[in-house]
Amino acid sequence: MLVAKIFTFPKAGVLDPQGSAIKPVISNLGFTNVKDIQTGKYFEVKIDACDVAEARKTVQELCSKVLVNPVVEDYEFEILEA
């Protein structure tokens, strides 16, 4: 069994309302060294695949079909042994 850790984030230039609402709250709390925050989604997917290549393919398909909204989101992932 392999595990894919997938995270999504706003495409370049796309507004991140959530991140921009969190930022001032963090500053007010005194986190002066936090310069920027971007938000996205995280998925942890268990895949029953023989090898990493097969799992990669599944993840890419999964992302483009269901998990990710390609109009506004980009994604990255890594695959590990469960």
Partner: protein
């Protein structure tokens, strides 16, 4: 009775609460903006209204829990003032640690807006003294994160100390719809140990006038008034 209605960034139930205290109950009600502070002595009751403060970003109530006014709210709470959190106000109380537990997204991940039937489990609170025990009342629920969650110990405590104040017992106008919320123990409202803080998900302020077709919520506000006029005992 002097009432403070907190205006968080993005509150939308503030006007509705103020309307009930002022125009229906004839009491004084003042807005306090989230960037301001106040003294416990300034008010008898502090209302944290509904709405999606901070757009419900991160988690509902999470960002508002860190605003300046919350220091005053905590101070008022600790000095025994009444605190009423409705909807998002309840979520803010949870995030601020003034009430235990948290709210998860509704079971069906959808916003739910309709009437619900709730049972009054505890009438020995300043907020529910005019209801009858086990009375079933109609209120309006309007939320996406209304599924109350807490660890087993907290739930046990709430139960043994009788701090579950309202529970859901039906959804939809006739109360016969499937439960979209999946709240633990069907919790719709809880109080803190001392009993001066109440958080509830449904909106009593929207059910307080004949013209709106439902006055079941009015008695919550009248209970508060009764509590002050009849000599305070918690």
């Amino acid at each position: 009775m002097r009432c403070a209605v907190i205006q968080f960034a993005g509150s939308s139930g503030d006007g509705d609460c103020c309307h009930v205290f002022k125009n229906i109950l004839g009491q004084s009600a003042d807005y306090v903006f989230h960037k301001e502070t106040f003294k416990p002595a300034d008010f008898d009751i502090v209302v944290l209204p509904g709405g999606a403060s901070h757009g419900d970003y991160l988690r509902p109530g999470a960002l508002s829990a860190h605003t300046k006014v919350m220091e005053s709210v905590k101070e008022a709470a600790n000095s025994g003032k009444l605190i009423l959190g409705i909807g998002n106000g309840f979520q803010i109380l949870l995030e601020a640690g003034l009430l235990p537990g948290t709210m998860l997204i509704n079971k069906d991940i959808k916003f739910y807006a309709d009437e619900v039937l709730v049972k009054v489990e505890n009438t020995a609170t300043p907020f529910t003294n005019l209801y009858k025990k086990d009375e079933v009342i109609r209120l309006i629920l309007s939320c996406k994160y209304g599924s109350y969650f807490a660890d087993a110990k907290t739930i046990e405590q709430l139960k043994s100390q009788n701090k579950i104040v309202l529970t859901y017992c039906g959804f939809g106008k006739n109360g016969d719809e499937e439960d979209p919320v999946a709240s633990m123990e069907n919790i719709a409202a809880i109080a803190n140990q001392e009993g001066n803080i109440l958080g509830l998900m449904p909106h009593p302020e929207r059910c307080a006038e004949e013209i709106l077709g439902n006055t079941d919520g009015l008695r919550m506000f009248q209970s508060i008034l009764q509590y002050f006029e009849g000599g305070k005992t918690l």
